[in-house]
Amino acid sequence: MNLSEGVQIVSFVVLAALTLCAALGVVLLEEIVYSAFLLGAVFIGISGLFILLNADFVAAAQILIYVGAVNVLILFAIMLVNKREPFAPSRNLWIRRSATAVVCLGIFALLGTMVIATPWAIAPSPGPVDTVLKIGIHFFSDYLLPFELASVLLLMAMVGAIILARRDFIPEVTIPGATSEPLALPERPRELPSERVGS
């Protein structure tokens, strides 16, 4: 049993509308927390589009990684620096806005021409049913090196993130006359038991 053609078209329209509206909300909303939550809606809509393209494993990975991990990380980063400050309105705002609009329209035109100009290879026959099995076999035959390099990349990401988050390398220098109040984070890097023993 399969979804009928009409159901697929309706699902596509609903998912595309959800994705586009949420993406517009991400850009246009003033409150940055709402933008972060709407980014999760964008990711969920894109994973639905992946399911419609027969890529069920990619859809599950999209939800697991992007909604479950990356979006949570973005939310934590926002909540970490969620300081309400009365920003002064910047002068000549229209110059910045028009420059941003020109750059964004340029990127949109570039991507649009690329989408139209690319000769997409559309398979005449339906794709493989066991997508996860196919991906697993490809991982260990012709895509072995990227698979192993992914673990090295994850190791590097982990080490870099821990070093950045612990901020051990930031020197404890106070400039006389300058108040450290606005720059101070609410959290001090904590003393580690191993360091206390070692030093």
Binding site: F57, I65, V70, L73, I135, G136
Partner: protein, 120 residues
């Protein structure tokens, strides 16, 4: 062309799950008595008094846990196809997956040594 099977149940569950909060909120809006004082607008009605705002600065320790979670989340996604295709793959793939896990164990040991997994 959509060829995956079994997704009509998924769509049914999705519609049903979307209808539940909608129906619950509509029903309570229709059934509740009008009015209510300023207590109705508190966070926990007839519960605890909330102190301060809801949007506070998070502790940076949550961020560390989220970072470690991202790395192992991606690792799980990479290992899942290996587990599914385990019978088709030979001993070599098993050793390669062990190398993959070993490299990420180094990351885990590093995080452990640096105290990223502790709360204290």
């Amino acid at each position: 062309m959509f060829t995956l099977s079994g997704y009509e149940y998924f769509l049914g569950f999705l519609l049903l799950a979307g209808a539940v909060p909608l129906l619950a909120l509509t029903a309570s809006k229709l059934l509740r008595s009008p009015g209510g004082g300023p207590e109705r607008r508190t966070t926990y009605e007839s519960g605890m008094e909330p102190i301060g705002g809801a949007w506070i600065q998070f502790n940076i320790r949550y961020y560390m846990f989220a970072l470690v979670f991202v790395v192992f989340d991606v690792e799980t996604v990479f290992l899942y196809p290996w587990a599914v295709a385990f019978n088709q793959l030979g001993l070599l793939a098993f050793i390669e997956a062990l190398i993959f896990i070993a490299i990420l164990t180094v990351a885990l040991v590093y995080a452990w040594r640096k105290g990223a997994l502790e709360w204290s």
